[in-house]
C-alpha cells in the first residue's frame, strides 16, 4: 500500500494496489500456457518408456534425445555440423537476398525492365526449385557450390516478389508529398520509397530465410559429409532415431533464432 502512495500519481490512476505483480505474472503465464501441451506430451512419453509400456526404440524418449545432443556436443561433432549448415544457409541466403533485392528493385522501379524480365522470372518461379538439383550437380559439382546455388534460388523468389510488390504498392499519395517538397530521384528513394518499402521487405526476408532453411536440408540430402542434414540421413541409415530428432530440434532452434535476428 505504501508503495503505491509513493509512486507518481499519473501512473497509478485507475490501478488497484498490487496490480503490478499480478500484471507481471500474467505476462509470463500467457505464453507458458502454450508450452503445457508439448511439455506434457514429452513428460508422458518419458514416463511411458520408463515404466515399460514402450521400448522407445523408434520414438526415443526426451532423455535419450538430450543424451544424444550432449554426446554430439561433447565430441565437437555438433558444432562442426552446425557450422557447415549455417555457412551454407548464410552464403545461399546472402546471394539470394542480393540478387532478389537487385532484380526486385529494378523491376519495381523501372517499368521497361519489368516488362522485359518479369515474365521470364515468373516462368522460372513456376519450376519447383528441387528440380534444379540434378542440373546444378552436373554444372557445379557435388560439393558446396551446387548446394549454395540451390539455396540461393529458393531464397531469390520470395525476396524478388516482395521487393517488386512493395515498390509497386507504395502509396502514390505519399510519393506526391515527396514531389511537393521537391525531392529529386535519390532523395525520393531515400526519404520516401525506402522507408515505405521497409516493412514489406522485412517480411519477404523472413519468408526467404524460411525457404533457405528448407532448401539447405534438401541440399544436404543430396550427398553431404557434414551438416545437420547429413545427421538426418546418417541417423536414418544407421537406425538412430534419437539423432534424427536431435538434429530436427537443432534446426528448429536455429531457424527460430535467425528469424528472430531479422
Amino acid at each position: 500500500m505504501a508503495m503505491t502512495l509513493d509512486t507518481p500519481a499519473p501512473e497509478v490512476i485507475g490501478e488497484e494496489p498490487g496490480s503490478r505483480p499480478a500484471e507481471r505474472l500474467r505476462r509470463i503465464a500467457r505464453p507458458a500456457i502454450g508450452l503445457l501441451l508439448p511439455l506434457g506430451l514429452a513428460l508422458a512419453w518419458e514416463l511411458a518408456v520408463r515404466s515399460g509400456y514402450s521400448n522407445g526404440r523408434l520414438v526415443p524418449p526426451p532423455s535419450r534425445i538430450w543424451q544424444t545432443l550432449v554426446e554430439l556436443a561433447a565430441s565437437g561433432e555438433l558444432s562442426r555440423h552446425i557450422v557447415a549448415t549455417l555457412s551454407r544457409v548464410s552464403a545461399g541466403f546472402g546471394l539470394g537476398v542480393l540478387a532478389g533485392t537487385l532484380f526486385g528493385a529494378i523491376c519495381g522501379y523501372w517499368t521497361l525492365a519489368r516488362r522485359l524480365l518479369d515474365p521470364t522470372l515468373q516462368a522460372l518461379r513456376a519450376i519447383p526449385s528441387i528440380a534444379w538439383v540434378p542440373l546444378f550437380i552436373l554444372w557445379l559439382g557435388i560439393f558446396e557450390t551446387s548446394k549454395v546455388a540451390l539455396i540461393a534460388v529458393g531464397v531469390f523468389f520470395p525476396i524478388y516478389l516482395g521487393v517488386t510488390g512493395a515498390i509497386l504498392s507504395v502509396d502514390r499519395k505519399i510519393v506526391e508529398v515527396g514531389r511537393i517538397f521537391r525531392l529529386n530521384g535519390f532523395a525520393m528513394i531515400r526519404r520516401i520509397l525506402l522507408p515505405a518499402v521497409l516493412p514489406a521487405y522485412v517480411i519477404s526476408l523472413r519468408s526467404g530465410l524460411g525457404l533457405g532453411w528448407m532448401f539447405v536440408v534438401a541440399a544436404e540430402f543430396m550427398g553431404a559429409s557434414e551438416g545437420l542434414g547429413y545427421l538426418l540421413t546418417d541417423g536414418q541409415q544407421l537406425g538412430k532415431p534419437a539423432q534424427i530428432v536431435a538434429a530436427i530440434i537443432v534446426f528448429a532452434i536455429l531457424g527460430k533464432v535467425t528469424d528472430w535476428l531479422i
Binding site: 499519395k173 505519399i174 506526391e176 511537393i180 517538397f181 521537391r182 520516401i192
Partner: protein, 260 residues
C-alpha cells in the same frame, strides 16, 4: 499575384477536365473554388501545385510560370498524408531539410504550438485523431512559409464540429503571414466562412461559371442574415451552373414515370 491564363487540361485518357480558365488572385486573398464533381476543381489545384501540368494556357506566380512543384506553393490534401515512419515533429519538419538543425527545430516547435499540438511532438501519426492529423498537415504546409497555400477539400473527411473548429483555426494561422489561399471545396458554408471570393465552376468540361464576392467582416457569424444571404447567392449560382432548368422534365423521375 497568381494568374491563370486560359488554363486547360486534357488527361492522357481523353478526359477533358478543364477548359479556358482565366483568373487573377491577389497576394493574401482567400479564394474558394466550388462546384460539383467533374468541374475540374482539383485539376486546377494540381496545376497550381505543379504536380500536374496544364495542357493549354499557363499558371504564373509573380511572373514565374509554374511547371513543377515550387517552394513558394504549399498544399494541404483531403487526407493528412503524414509519413507513418516519422514522428509528428519530423513530419512537420519534412520540407525543412535544407535549414540548419537549430533553426529547423525552432520552426517546428513554433508550428507545433501554433496548431496546439506541443504535447504531440514525439507522437506517431497513427496515434492522432483525424482532426489532429490534419492540423499536423497544415503545420507541415505552413512551416516553409509559402506565398500560396492550396487546400484540396481539406476538412471534408472530418465531423462537423471539428471542421468548424479547424476553419476558424486556419483563418487564425492565415493571419500570421497572410499567404494567398486557394481552397477547393464542395461545402458552401466552408466557402462563405473562409473566402473573400467564391469561384463557381460548371462541369464537363470544367469551366469558370461566375464569381461571388463575400464582403463580410471577419470573424464571420455563421448564423447572421448577411451570411445567409451570401450563402443563398452561391447556392443559386451553383444551381444555375448545372443548367437544371433545361433538363428537369427529362431527368425528373415523377414526370418520366407518369402514366405507369
Amino acid at each position: 499575384m497568381l494568374v491563370f491564363d486560359h488554363v486547360g487540361k486534357t488527361y492522357p485518357n481523353g478526359v477533358h477536365a478543364l477548359e479556358n480558365f482565366s483568373a487573377r488572385v491577389k497576394p493574401g486573398e482567400i479564394v474558394a473554388i466550388i462546384g460539383g464533381s467533374g468541374c475540374g476543381k482539383s485539376t486546377l489545384l494540381r496545376a497550381i501545385s505543379g504536380l500536374d501540368r496544364a495542357t493549354t494556357g499557363s499558371v504564373t506566380l509573380d511572373t514565374i510560370s509554374i511547371t513543377a512543384p515550387n517552394e513558394k506553393v504549399g498544399i494541404i490534401f483531403q487526407e493528412p498524408r503524414l509519413l507513418p515512419w516519422l514522428s509528428v515533429a519530423d513530419n512537420i519538419g519534412f520540407g525543412l531539410g535544407h535549414l540548419p538543425s537549430a533553426e529547423r527545430q525552432r520552426r517546428i516547435t513554433r508550428a507545433l504550438s501554433r496548431v496546439g499540438l506541443s504535447d504531440k511532438a514525439s507522437a506517431w501519426p497513427r496515434e492522432l485523431s483525424g482532426g489532429q492529423a490534419q492540423r499536423v498537415a497544415i503545420a507541415r504546409a505552413l512551416v516553409p512559409s509559402p506565398e500560396v497555400l492550396l487546400l484540396d477539400e481539406p476538412f471534408s473527411a472530418l465531423d462537423a464540429f471539428t471542421r468548424a473548429d479547424l476553419q476558424d483555426h486556419l483563418l487564425d494561422l492565415w493571419a500570421d503571414t497572410k499567404p494567398t489561399l486557394v481552397l477547393v471545396t464542395h461545402d458552401v458554408d466552408e466557402a462563405v466562412v473562409l473566402a473573400d471570393r467564391v469561384v463557381v465552376m460548371r462541369p464537363r468540361p470544367g469551366r469558370l461559371f461566375e464569381e461571388v464576392k463575400v464582403d463580410l467582416t471577419r470573424p464571420r457569424d455563421r448564423a447572421s442574415p448577411a451570411f445567409e444571404a451570401v450563402k443563398h447567392q452561391v447556392l443559386a449560382s451553383l444551381d444555375r451552373s448545372l443548367d437544371r432548368g433545361l433538363r428537369r422534365p427529362v431527368d425528373d423521375f415523377l414526370t418520366a414515370g407518369e402514366g405507369i
